[in-house]
């Protein structure tokens, strides 16, 4: 098991650092977060189910979750406004159905986007990469990225029925 973990960390260390640093650009914060991620991976590896997704998928999700949590803790320490969090109480059946429907609609709307726009959207809102990072990696300017994100947003709002979705 330890060997498996070592192999996973060897293989995906670059990807892990990439995902975490997109959300936590400061070196110290990123290193702290990566240490937490390695601990979570060690704890979670015995329960990992390959049916639910690849190793890369699982590790990416753990990295993202850990980095967002780490950022929230930082924001609280620095006294910034809390970002909205999910309610602790489990949603009722009606709410669950509504959430599933919304998720399906959002998924369909995302699938309708061209590949490049969809990837940009995920970079921005899933991997939480900054506009500067997006611009550099896409070989364009920040203004061009903002323009593209604005157009994607408008498309999705039209698909999903305006702001009230």
């Amino acid at each position: 098991m330890a060997g498996d973990l070592e192999r996973l960390l060897d293989k995906y260390s670059g990807m892990m650092a990439y995902v975490v640093r997109g959300i936590l650009p400061q070196d110290q914060e990123a290193e702290e977060c990566l240490a937490e991620v390695r601990k979570k991976l060690a704890e979670g590896l015995p329960r990992y189910d390959p049916e639910k997704g690849s190793h890369a998928t699982w590790i990416t999700a753990v990295c993202r979750h850990a980095a967002i949590d780490h950022r929230r803790r930082l924001d609280r320490r620095q006294g910034e406004a809390l970002t909205e969090e999910l309610a602790d109480s489990a949603p009722g059946p009606e709410e669950q159905l509504l959430q599933r429907e919304r998720a399906e609609r959002l998924r369909d709307a995302l699938l309708a986007l061209p590949d490049g726009e969809r990837r940009l959207f995920y970079r921005k809102y899933y991997y939480l990469q900054s506009t500067a990072q997006l611009a550099a990696e896409l070989g364009t300017t920040e203004r061009a990225v903002e323009g593209k994100l604005y157009r994607i947003r408008k498309k999705l709002q039209r698909e999903l029925g305006g702001d009230r979705w």
Binding site: T57, A61, R119, E137
Partner: protein, 508 residues
């Protein structure tokens, strides 16, 4: 702004439950280098493969070079090999833009028609491409170490070998379009080149796949000009250079005119004699001093006419390119039984465009080999009359050994009578800028005549009526008899064709 922030927070929350895999995007696809390397690989494909249809052979390499530039621009700070690629691609982008526009000019055509210049440029271009491929390979191997420090699998080395194979076959195909072994070698060469190109493409793709889960530490450089801006600049510059190239660069230099000198006494006497024999004054004015002296003692002069009603479209006047052109043929009987043919043309109204003109004559092949060729242009520049000799070149004249079996059979009687095919003199020139009332002629001598018989052969005047891309040399086309597969055969030109009709009687 608040609404926007709420929307963004909501998106972040919702996407937590919709990881990339739920929409078919694996995490391996999100890397710092994906866009840059994809651009580079597509750029390599587009600049290597040549598709000779719908002007794609010009457009795709330009598109490919811009993609290469954009790709290397992002990676220029990662290592010195990528920086070198970026510099080389910047240079090749400028050369590509200039070359794309330049192919609409006569100068480019002259350069490509000069083997030394052509092969030098081709060799430098290939060397540049090869150097860039080698730098790219080195850059990839340095920038994408694995977690254990290993380098990615090297698919680019065999890819470069395939590319060299394609380049070698292309060079062979250019140097020897139909090899000595016949057409099966040509087909084999084509299929081999296609196979190597496909191998090149597949190896490039494999190299991209081999970079998966690597290179997350690659440094991508921020840019000041968006990729759209680079596209607009590249295409805009190409168009800005292309327009003047087509309108002004597609016009070969006009002949240098000199003020028409007064005729010598002998030439003046000969001119008077020709006028007395019936040659119109406006045509006699076109003749050079030398041709007037050749015609000294002329015994007769007559215009050939077009008696056969089944010879269509043989009007001596035609509206061409917004102008009015007139043509005529005169035969002058000289002492000693020789005849001198004069094929005249005159622009009664000048055409809209002055790009390329061609004047080609097919002398009668039943008398003797045409010889002693000459010609002149004459025009009015302001208040002055200027003249310039027409540069006469010869097409035709092949001996039997140089002909195919079919052609030897087709031209059997001509070969038997003349010993070779009849010469076909032609001149390719441009109308003088600002010149009015432009006229000219092409002349040659035949030993003997065929009084009362139909004149074999024809006269053709070609006027390029609109810009052509790429530039096609009228002279080169006329030299090759303008076969159906020739580029200029589909070029926009007007033609005045006037057929020699009947050999005049001996007394004109």
């Amino acid at each position: 702004m608040v609404r926007e922030q709420t929307w963004e927070q909501e998106m972040e929350r919702r996407l937590a439950g919709l990881p990339p895999e739920s929409v078919g995007e694996g995490p391996e696809g999100f890397t710092p280098w994906e866009t840059a390397v994809s651009r580079i690989l597509w750029g390599l494909v587009l600049t290597t493969f040549r598709l000779e249809v719908l002007y794609l052979q010009y457009l795709l390499p330009l598109v490919g070079t811009v993609e290469l530039y954009l790709g290397f621009r992002s990676l220029r700070r990662e290592n010195r090999w990528f920086f070198g690629c970026w510099v080389l691609t910047g240079i090749s982008l400028i050369l590509r833009i200039v070359g794309t526009a330049g192919q609409g000019t006569w100068l480019w055509s002259r350069l490509s028609g000069c083997p030394a210049a052509f092969w030098t440029v081709a060799a430098l271009s290939l060397a540049l491409e090869l150097l860039r491929l080698l730098l790219l390979r080195q850059g990839l191997r340095r920038a994408f170490p694995g977690g254990d420090g290993s380098r990615p699998r090297d698919w680019l080395a065999p890819g470069i070998a395939a590319w060299l194979g394609v380049a070698a076959l292309a060079a062979w195909g250019t140097a020897e379009p139909v090899p000595a072994g016949g057409s099966w070698v040509a087909y084999g060469r084509l299929f081999l080149a296609l196979g190597l190109f496909i191998a090149f493409f597949l190896l490039l793709r494999r190299q991209l796949l081999a970079l998966s889960l690597r290179g997350y530490q690659v440094t991508v450089s921020p840019v000041r000009l968006s990729s759209g801006g680079v596209w607009c600049l590249s295409l805009g510059l190409t168009l800005a250079l292309l327009l003047p190239a087509l309108l002004w660069g597609a016009r070969p230099p006009s002949p240098h005119g000199e003020k028409a000198a007064p005729l010598s006494a002998a030439a003046a006497e000969s001119r008077e004699n020709l006028l007395a024999l019936g040659l119109p004054a406006e045509l006699a004015d076109l003749l050079s001093e030398e041709d007037l002296i050749r015609c000294a003692g002329a015994e007769g002069a007559a215009q050939t006419n077009n008696p056969q009603p089944n010879h269509q479209a043989l009007s001596p006047r035609a509206e061409i390119g917004g102008g009015l052109l007139e043509g005529s043929t005169w035969v002058v009987a000289l002492p000693g039984g020789t005849v001198r043919f004069f094929h005249f043309f005159r622009w009664l109204e000048m055409p809209r465009l002055r790009l390329q003109e061609g004047f080609q004559v097919e002398p009668d092949n039943a008398v003797s080999l045409a010889e002693d060729f000459s010609g002149q242009l004459r025009w009015r520049q302001g208040e002055e009359w200027l003249t310039a000799p027409l540069e006469i070149r010869l097409a035709g004249g092949q001996e039997a050994e140089a002909l195919s079996e079919f052609d030897r059979w087709w031209y059997e009687s001509e070969l038997a009578h003349l010993g070779r095919l009849q010469w076909e003199p032609y001149a390719a020139f441009s109308l003088p800028a600002g010149g009015e009332e432009v006229g000219g002629y092409l002349a040659y001598t035949l030993q003997g005549s065929r009084t009362g018989s139909t004149v074999n052969g024809g006269v053709h005047y070609y006027h390029q009526s609109r810009p052509l891309y790429p530039y096609a040399d009228m002279g080169r086309w006329l030299a090759g008899r303008g076969g159906m597969g020739d580029l200029f055969a589909s070029a926009p030109y007007d033609r005045l064709m006037f057929q020699n009709g009947v050999w005049p009687q001996a007394d004109g």
